[in-house]
Symmetry: C2
Subunit: 220 residues, 2 copies
DNA sequence: CCCACCATTTTGAGTAGTCAAAATAATTTC
DNA sequence: GAAATTATTTTGACTACTCAAAATGGTGGG
């Protein structure tokens, strides 16, 4: 069985691959895992020796099919656990990422299946992140974001890709939850500011970076 | 925070202390943890240096107050998780010990409290094992067992201290569950055999060793 | 009292993962 | 097209466990 460390490397590699074309740079992994770059080089070489990743020195890494399979398993655990924590234990969506970070390594496939059934086989977690299927299918649709969508048109939030507890608390406070319907009333590229209006409520100002992490689809 | 290894050493030390007078011999810990004796010596010395245990060379180990406090926390997690797995996820009581062995190290105190509330603050787990309170109180009553109770009198099973999946499956098949009411009809010390009769059903034969792991109280 | 046996400890070695700091390669900048 | 900057790799060292096998210490039988 892969160690907790290996599972974390593979899962983060999968997440980074989603937002990176081609190889994931070593530095990105190093940042995501909060370890020093040299450590990543060492670990990636051993993952490569185990056939879980391909390492192109000085260029980056990517998962092999075997590595991706393992990573999807961990990600499925992560997101189902998050869903459980919110729906059954009524925890706040800003707190569950940290919890799931540990639990994803401790849950057996048996427990996972039971959890999945208990929750009614959900397709997404509390943040709108898609949950990989039992057989490793991951619905990864490309969405527009609050940073790119047309102005004034009503849009529905489908997913928040920012994990930090502070941001999620802020978002919830302003009704920016998956399913909410809003309109972008202004986008000031110079100032890097996006203004969002929801049906009944004050307008909310977001940085362009934050807006880019809120995925949407046209409403109605 | 203590590592998974340290948590396991402390928890097993607590369990072994329950069935041992005085110091726990190094060999007992070595067996319980499935590591070689020399490893236990090394680890116990480092636990002693951390103030979690007292080590009397060539005699044994015991928990300090600090070590016991930590061990009770782990045991509480273990038993609440077992209860959750049986009551909410409907798993078999013979499967949950192995699952909880991992999860006990991955659950935060926050999640634990929610779980405890969801389950209605249970006093015992599915095996009848007492669950330590949030503040580290462990009800440890001394019970008779099927190996020691008077013959022919009705007794109620309160706790099964044997954890092996095979035994628990066997026990369940013969209705030997916490709460069940039975009578010991015969006890043959020479053959090491105990015969148990339950209200409607065939008599069951148990080894003396197995019978000693089924704790009871007088019924009615 | 001594020897044999058993539990425990010691010694030496290995694996997994990590960091700090120096070396190297690739990319920008001028 | 150097020189400077930045990313990555290498090197050397450390922590936390673990095992195999040899050494040691108690105990209990003769
Ligand atoms: Mn994790
Ligand atoms: Mn999520
Ligand atoms: Mn454990
Ligand atoms: Mn139990």
């Amino acid at each position: 069985m892969p160690s907790v460390t290996v599972e974390n490397y593979l899962k983060h590699l999968l997440l980074l691959a989603e937002e990176t074309a081609g190889l994931v740079p070593m530095g990105a992994l190093s940042t995501a895992l909060a370890v020093v770059p040299g450590t990543v080089t060492t670990m990636v070489k051993s993952l490569a020796a185990a056939g879980l990743v391909v390492h192109r020195p000085r260029q980056g890494v990517k998962l092999t099919a075997a590595g991706r399979r393992l990573a999807l398993g961990v990600l499925r655990k992560h997101r189902l656990v998050e869903t459980f924590l919110v729906q059954v234990l009524k925890m706040h969506w800003s707190a569950v990422n940290a919890e799931a970070e540990q639990l994803e390594h401790a849950i057996s496939d048996t427990v996972l299946d039971r959890l999945d059934a208990l929750l009614g086989h959900p397709a997404t977690d509390p943040h709108g992140d898609p949950i990989p299927s039992r057989h490793g299918k991951l619905r990864s649709q490309v969405y527009a974001t609050l940073a790119t969508c047309p102005l004034a048109r009503p849009v529905r939030l489908v997913r928040i890709t920012e994990q930090s507890a502070e941001f999620l608390q802020f978002a919830e406070q302003h009704g920016l939850l998956p399913g909410a319907s809003v309109r972008v009333t202004d986008r000031n590229l110079a100032a890097g500011l996006v203004t969002v209006q929801r049906p009944r409520g004050q307008p909310v100002a977001l940085s362009l970076a934050a807006a880019g992490r809120i995925l949407i689809e046209p409403a109605r």
